[in-house]
């Protein structure tokens, strides 16, 4: 049992932590990230990036962007990164090349380079052909070196990134996505690099030739290529590898070719270069220049950090191809996402409700869970409130029933108590009329009669008020009361009462008295009863000793005491137990009800009332009431 309880607690703990985690975790991650950028040991290092091509060449642009970002995140600011675009393809003349070399060495003569990164073999060759005095100590990271390219002899330290193209993998994936494919159109340029790729492709595709028909379109002008592809039958795949120049000598970019192919092709176009993604190409196992940029950047940081410790730096940088697909193209060609290799990167995903279904379901589940939690808490709160309400109601009814039960005992005497003064009033009135009808009416007698009538009338109405207070099922809530105030109110009220004439009431009220919960009218009644009781008890006490002391005190932290002490006849010890019974009275007049009612009221307030004789004579009545557990009044 104990175990079950603990498990439940643990479960609810986990449940709560889950929600708290959702709220708290995000910001923490953000903080952690921003803190990693604080230390900056590389801020004085300079990196030179030599691009063989012009700016805005798509492949190198994405590589450079990523490289820049990684270097920057490693602490090398933009001011320490020097991107140089050599434009070697477009300006192949030896003179131009020479001028460029002079320009570069002049441009960077006022800086110290800690690392040189070259893109493509032509820029590496350019660097190596430059004056040996151009930062000879700086290591060279040579990116995009085709497999089989022979690195020139040099004293410089070179870490090449060797591209080992795998053209098969895209085809394998393509065949999985288009199982019925039998015709493969290979679109290729005629630039040396294009030709190199084509050679590799032809070699790689050999193993498929018994199964598939390959159409290498590199020897056609682009228009013819597009025309061919636009007439491709349904069981075809178009495979765009690299395309920098067509057979007519027109320079192109692979990206543009991809777009033109997509426009006319009757079959899905797969690719080989990462740049084609987003340009009408389905994708495939791609050489991702962005990915190369990332890896190169990371290696560059390693080199710069541990330049002395060369053993940790690899001799060659390998960057595997990445399976990347364009979601829109998959949809366009109705290709199933589930046929893609595991770990594929899918880009350009459109977030239609259907694609978002798991997120939406997740969010809905989250909201539902929260809703249930809230409903649960509300229900619990409501149940608690209802229980409290019921309890309060029961208590009220109980008090009422108790009172009624007490009333049952009292009824006899209540009737008695009302009828007595009424009898007196009637008889007095009758007597007065008779006296007045006499020839010489005794006016003094009549006056006394009238005074008696008034007194009896008050007595009767007091009884009625008592009954009202007793019987009325009070709707009024108990309120926070200062008993001292209640007592002062009562004493002010009765100071002029004839019963109390020649009698002093001393108040010894504790200033630190705590508040109590109670009905002010009822409690006034109780105090009044006790004071009048004491007054009657002292009728035969010598005048100078007639004194009532009303005290308040804290019995302890939780209990408030009110005591009424007199110096009268005291209580008959034999009858002390019957004192609070209804109609027990030692007085020749009165109800014998005052103490009974008082007790009922005090009990209804959760308190008690007790009586005892004083040593020095007289009696003391003590009321105890529970204090409000708040501040002192």
């Amino acid at each position: 049992m104990m175990f079950v309880v603990r498990e439940n607690r643990w479960k609810s703990f986990c449940f709560y932590m889950f929600f708290i985690g959702l709220i708290v975790y995000g910001p923490i991650v953000g903080i952690a990230r921003s803190q990693t950028q604080v230390q900056n040991p590389l801020e004085t290092k300079n990196v030179l990036i030599l691009n063989g091509a012009e700016p805005n060449t798509p492949a190198f642009e994405s590589l450079n962007q990523e490289l820049l970002a990684v270097l920057q995140s490693g602490g090398i600011g933009i001011r320490n990164q020097f991107f140089e675009y050599l434009g070697l393809t477009r300006n192949p003349s030896p003179e131009s090349r020479k001028l460029r070399m002079q320009l570069v060495s002049r441009r960077y003569s006022e800086h110290k380079m800690d690392l040189i990164i070259t893109l493509y073999p032509n820029s590496l060759k350019f660097l190596l052909d430059m004056d040996q005095s151009f930062f000879p100590a700086a290591p060279v990271m040579a990116l995009i070196i085709p497999q089989g390219y022979k690195l020139p002899e040099t004293d410089r330290r070179i870490i090449p990134h060797v591209v080992v193209p795998d053209l098969n993998r895209t085809l394998e994936i393509g065949l999985k996505l288009v199982p019925k494919a039998e015709r493969i159109y290979v679109v290729n340029g005629v630039d040396p690099m294009d030709r190199w790729v084509e050679r590799l492709a032809r070699k790689d595709f050999k193993k498929w030739e018994d199964r598939l028909d390959f159409y290498h379109l590199s020897d056609l002008p682009l228009e013819k290529i597009l025309a061919t592809v636009s007439a491709a039958p349904a069981n075809s795949i178009v495979y765009l590898t690299t395309f920098s120049k067509d057979v007519t000598g027109k320079y192109m970019r692979t990206v543009e070719v991809s777009e033109e192919l997509a426009e006319v092709s009757k079959a899905p176009v797969f690719g080989f270069l990462g740049t084609v993604i987003g340009h009408g190409n389905v994708g495939g196992s791609l050489i991702s220049f962005k990915h190369i940029g990332t890896k190169a950047g990371e290696l560059a940081l390693d080199i710069l950090r541990g330049a002395q410790n060369t053993e940790n730096i690899p001799e060659v940088l390998n960057v595997p191809q990445v399976d990347i697909f364009d979601w829109r193209q998959l949809k366009h060609w109705n290709l199933s996402e589930s046929d893609l290799p595991r770990g594929s990167v899918i880009v350009n995903r459109e977030f239609s409700p259907w694609n978002l279904r798991y997120y939406i379901i997740g969010v809905l589940v989250f909201i539902m869970a929260q809703l249930l939690l809230i409903i649960g808490l509300l229900a619990q709160k409501r149940r608690t409130r209802l229980a409290e309400e019921a309890l309060r109601q029961h208590r009220k009814e109980l008090a009422y029933v108790t009172r009624i039960a007490t009333m049952g005992e009292l009824t006899t005497s209540l009737a008695h108590e009302i009828n007595q003064p009424l009898t007196a009033i009637r008889s007095n009135a009758g007597a007065a009329l008779r006296f007045l009808s006499q020839p010489e009416p005794d006016i003094r007698e009549v006056r006394q009669i009238l005074e008696d009538i008034v007194r009896d009338d008050r007595r009767a109405s007091n009884v009625i008020q008592n009954i009202r207070a007793m019987v009325k099922k009070e709707k009024r809530n108990k309120e926070l009361l200062d008993l001292n105030k209640v007592i002062r109110g009562v004493v002010d009220l009765i100071r002029d009462d004839s019963l109390l004439k020649g009698l002093s009431i001393a108040l010894e009220l504790n200033r630190g008295l705590k508040m109590i919960h109670g009905d002010p009218i009822q409690l006034q009644q109780v105090i009044l009863n006790l004071i009048l009781n004491s007054a009657v008890a002292m009728r035969n006490t010598p005048r100078d000793q007639r004194k009532i002391i009303v005290r308040t005190a804290m019995a302890d932290d939780r209990i408030v005491n009110v005591s009424v002490t007199d110096f009268g006849t005291g209580i008959d010890e034999n009858n002390i137990e019957r004192l609070f019974e209804a109609f027990y009275t030692t007085k020749s007049e009165g109800l014998g009800m005052g103490l009974s009612i008082s007790k009922t009221i005090v009990h209804a307030h959760g308190g008690d009332i007790k009586a005892s004789n004083n040593r020095e004579g007289g009696a003391t009545f003590v009321i105890t009431l529970p204090a409000n557990q708040g501040d002192a009044s």
Binding site: T412, S413, A415, H416, E417, I418, N419, Q420, P421, L422, T423, A424, I425, R426, S427, N428, A429, G430, A431, A432, R434, F435, E445, I449, D452, R455, D456, R459, T585, S588, E589, G592
Partner: protein
């Protein structure tokens, strides 16, 4: 006639009632003696004059009905008028059975009491009281 009026004994624990009845009966010309309780009346030596007894039923210690019993035990017979502020049918029955002249529910008309007294005094006039 008024001088011959009998003595009326009133036993009631309520001083207001006693005072009022005393005044009423005095205004009607009766001689009246009041007692605060049954025991006080028992202790009192009734003179050998015609009279009647007005008894409150509900009194502390000894009730009016019990007082009637005690008086019968002692062989004292008065015409008795019972009065009560609270009515119980069995009381009235018992009072009648014991030969009460009247049974008055408080508050009663003064005249009703006076009539009852007149009636009981008239009775005592014809049937001499046994003491």
């Amino acid at each position: 006639m008024k001088e011959e009026k009998a003595v009326v004994y009133v036993v009631d624990d309520d001083p207001s009632v006693r005072r009022a009845l005393e005044r009423l009966l005095r205004s009607a010309g009766y001689n009246i003696l009041t007692f605060t309780g049954a025991s006080e009346f028992l202790d009192f030596n009734c003179p050998d004059t015609p009279g009647c007894l007005i008894l409150d039923i509900k009194m502390p210690k000894l009730s009016g009905l019990e007082l009637q019993d005690r008086l019968s035990e002692k062989g004292v017979f008065f015409p008795i008028i019972f009065m009560t502020a609270f009515d119980k049918p069995q009381w009235q029955e018992r009072a009648k059975k014991m030969g009460a002249v009247a049974y008055l529910r408080k508050p009663f008309k003064g005249q009703a009491l006076l009539d009852a007294i007149d009636q009981s005094v008239a009775n005592t006039a014809t049937t001499s009281p046994k003491i």
